[in-house]
Amino acid sequence: MAVTNQGMPPGTFPEGDQYLDFVRRRRRVGTFFRTLFFLATVLGIVILATLLLDVTNDTFGYVAVQNQVDPETVIDRYYKERMLSMPRTVTSEDDVVLAEGVAVRANAIGFFGYAYYQERTDTLRALALDGVEPTAENAASGQYFLARPLYIYTSERLLRQRPEVAAFVDFFLQNAAEVAQEAGYITPGEQDLAEGRRLWQETTGLTASPAANTLPADSVIRAAGSSTVQPITARVAERFKAETGFAGEVVVEGGGTLAGFRRLCRDQDIQIANASRAMERPDVNTCRGNKVEPLAFDIGTDAISVVVSQQNDFLPAGLTREQLRKIFIEAERWSDVDPSWPNKPILRFIPGADSGTLDYFVSQVYGDSLDDLPREDLLAILETNISAGRLRALNAERPVEERSTEEIYDLVIAEVIKPRVVESWSFTESLFRRAEIEAAVAEIPNASMEFRRWLTWEFIRSPQSSVPTLAGIRTAIFGSLWVTLIAFLVAVPLGVAAATYLEEYSKGTRLDGIIETNINNLAGVPSIIYGMLGLAVFVRFFGQITSGLAFGIGDPSTANGRTILSAGLTLGLLILPLVIINAREAIRAVPRALREAAYGLGATKWQTVRSHVLPYALPGILTGVILSVSRAFGETAPLIVVGVSTFIVIDPSGPFSKFTTLPAQIYQWVSRPQEEFQRIAAAAILVLLTLLLLVNATAIYLRNRFSRRY
C-alpha cells in the first residue's frame, strides 16, 4: 500500500515508499527491544537453572567410604579376647607345646597346624567339623572350613636389592611342594606356585636365580612369623644351604603371623615373614606407611586341626560349628555343650594372640561380618570399644540394653567402625568419570566406593554432627521456623498497623514526614547493621528478658540472651520496613471511589478502613509479607552477629532456646574445607529452597483465597 496523502504540502509527512520504510524502521526498534527483553528473561532462567543444577550436582554422587576401624579387626579382637580370657586356657605361639599339652589330658581340646597333628596321630585324635574330615583332599578342595593357604611374605625392595633373598625365595618356590609333603602339610597347587614364580620374575627382572657363589658370604637371611609355616621355612633353609652352597646364614624364628608382618614392615629386621593368613588391609597399611611394598607367595595349604587326646572317650568323631563356638568362648564344662557329655571342666590349648592360626580360627568359626553376629556379642563389642563416658551418654539417652538389635548394630557402626566419607564426587563426575573414580578409590586404603544421596530423610531428621555423613539439619529447620515465626508475629501486625496509620490517619505533619523518610531509609540499611542493633538491644540490654530469666523459665546456658527470641525480634525489625512499604503501596492502591462509597453511607474512618480498605489491600499486603518472610527465612548475617549457635544438637523448645538456622548452618558448612561439608551444604540448600518454595506457595494460595473478590 503506497497511498499518497491528500491535501498536505509535500514533505510534511513521509509519503509512499518512504513512509513504508519509516514504518519498517519503527517496527525494527520494537523488534530490537522485544528481543532484548526476551534475552533478559532467558538469561534469568538460565542463571536460575544453573544454580539449581549446581546445587543438585553436589547433592548426589559417588563417595569413598573408609572405615575408621576395620570391622573384621573388631570382631577378631573381640572373640580373641573372649577366647584368651576363658579359664583353663593355655596359650602358646609354639604348636608343639599345644600338641603335647592336649595329648596327655583327657578333658583337653586344642587346635593348631595340621602338620603337628600328623606327627602325633598316635596320641591325638582330630575331629571332623560339620561332618568333614580334616584330610589333605578335603582341605585342598575347600570343603573343610578350617583349611587355609600359607604364605611367605617379602618386600619388593628386598627382592630386587638382596640377591640372596631373591635366590632363597626362588628356591623356596621350586621346592615348596616337596618340602610341604615331607613336613606333613598339604602340598600347594601347581598353579599357585607358578603364579609365585611369575611374580618373582616380574619383580626381579630375572629368569633364574643368581648363582650361589655370587651371593655375599657374610649375609644373613632372617625369617620369622607363623609357627605353622616355620617348619616348612626351616626345612627349605636347610636344603637351601646344603644344595646351593649358600655361604651365609638363614635364621628361622617363630612369633606368630602378626609379629612376622610387623618385623618385615615396621622393624624391618627380617627379610621373610612366615604367614598363616594373607595380609589384610590394616597390615598392608602398616607396610605402605613404612614404604614397604609387601609381596605374597602362596607356598602351601594348612588345615587347622581341632584335636583331642586319644584318651578322650566321650567326644564323638566330629563337632558342629555351633559346638565349637560354645567350647571356646562359653562353656565351662563339657556338659554345658552337650548334656550327654561328662560334667568335667574343659581344658583349652589354643595359639597365642599374635598367631595367624587363632585369627583364622576366629574368622572361620565366629564369622567376620558384623551383621552375622548375635545381639549380645554386638552389645559386648559396643561396650568394650567405646569410652565409659560415651557409654554413659548413650545409656542416658536410652539404656542400650533396651535397644533393638538393629539399633545396636547401627550404634556399633556409628560409634566403633565409624565409616567416614574420605572423598566424594559430584553427580556429573560420577556419571562421566566412573573409571577415574574407581581408580582413585582403589588408591585409598581400606575404602570402598558407594553411590550416595546426600539429601536423605535421615539428613533432614538428624541433628547437627561433626561427621558430615551423620550430620543433619533438623535443629536448623526448627530454628529457622521458630525465628521466622517470631519475626512474622512481630513485623506483620506492627507493619500493617504502621502502614495503615501512615496512609489513612497521618495528617502529614513534620513528625509523620520524618517517620516516613526513616522507614524508607531503614529498608535500605544493610542487614548486618540490624544484627548489631539486635546484639546491642535484644542480646545485651534486654538479655534478661530475651533469655527468659526475667520470667524465671530460661535455661542458664542461654542466659546470655542469644536466643530464638532475640533473633526473631531482630529479623522482625529487619523486615518491618519492607512490610510497611509494601502494605502502604497496597493501601494506597485502594480506589478512592471505594472509600467515598463507604464514607457516603455514613461510615466512620475505622469502619471504612476495617471493612473496605484493608480487605481490598490484603492481597497486596500479603505479597509484601511473603517477600519479607522469605527474606527473614534466608537471612544469615544478622543472626551471626546476634549469636547463632555454631554447633547445636538439641531442638529448640521455645523462644528462649539456643538456635541455629538453615542459612547459618549452610554458611558454616560451606566455610569448612572438607568437600563432604560442601555436599551437605548443597543438600541443605536444596532443602532451604524447597522450604522457601513451600512457604511462598502456601502464602500465595492463602492470598488467592483472600483476594477472591466479588
Binding site: 502529614g508 471511589a593 473478590r709 466479588y710
Partner: protein, 267 residues
Amino acid sequence: MAANPSPNGASADSKYAIEARNLNVFYGGFHAVKDINLKIERQKITALIGPSGCGKSTVLRAFNRMNDLIPVARTEGEVLFHGKNIYDPDVDAVEVRRRVGMVFQKPNPFPKSIYENIAWGARINGFKGNMDDLVEEALRGAALWDEVKDKLKESGYSLSGGQQQRLCIARAIAVKPEIILMDEPASALDPIATLRIEELMKDLVKNYTIIIVTHNMQQAARVSDYTAFFTVTPERTGYLEEFGPTKEIFTNPKSKITEDYITGRFG
C-alpha cells in the same frame, strides 16, 4: 441535631431541605467556589449545571462534607440542614453523610455480594430491624429487585453498569437519607440505562430530595424541577450565575451567560 428545630428558626418542616449560605471552598490556595447561596427545595430535583471546572461538583460535595476527605480542602460559609450549619464544630460529618446520601459518577459497588452491598451501610448505622426486608425494600426502591432477587449472593460487580448504578442508589436509600446527592450518575452509562436512572429519580423524588450534577442539559431539562447554573470567573473560581425553576432557566434565562450556555454557544 436532625429532629430538633434549630435556634435559627428554620424547622424540619420548612420548605427547604438544605441551604448554602455564602459558601466558599478552597483547595489549598485555590479559591474553587465563592459566595454560593442556594436553597434546595424539599422533594424536588435540583440540577447543578455549568461548564467544566465551574465548581458544581464541589458544591454538591459540600452538602455532605465529602470535601473533608480532601486534605487540602477548606470550607467557609454555612450549609444549613434542618436549620443547623453542618460545618459547626459540634456536628459530626458521619451523621451528615448518613442523612445526605451520595451516588457517584462511576458506579462503585463494594467488592461484596449484592445483599452485602446494601446491608453493610445499614449495619454500620446500627440498623436493628429485619435486614432481608430492608434489602428488598431498598432494591425495590431502586427498581432493581426483580433483576437481582435470585442472585443476592452474587458479586455486585457481576451486574451491568446501569444495574450497578441502581445498586448504588439502593445502597444509598437503604440508610434512609433525606437528601440524595448524585454526581453525574448517568455519565458512564448508555442511553437506555440513563433513561432508567432518570425514571428512577422521578420515582425517588416522591420521598427524597435529590440534587444532581449533570453535564447533560437535556437530562437537566427532562428531570429537574430547579436548575442552578454555575460558571467561572477569569480566575477559574466558580460561582452561581443563575438559579431558578428549570423551565425558566431553559426558556427565559435572565443572564446572558446562562443563555449562551444553554443555547450551546459556550461550554
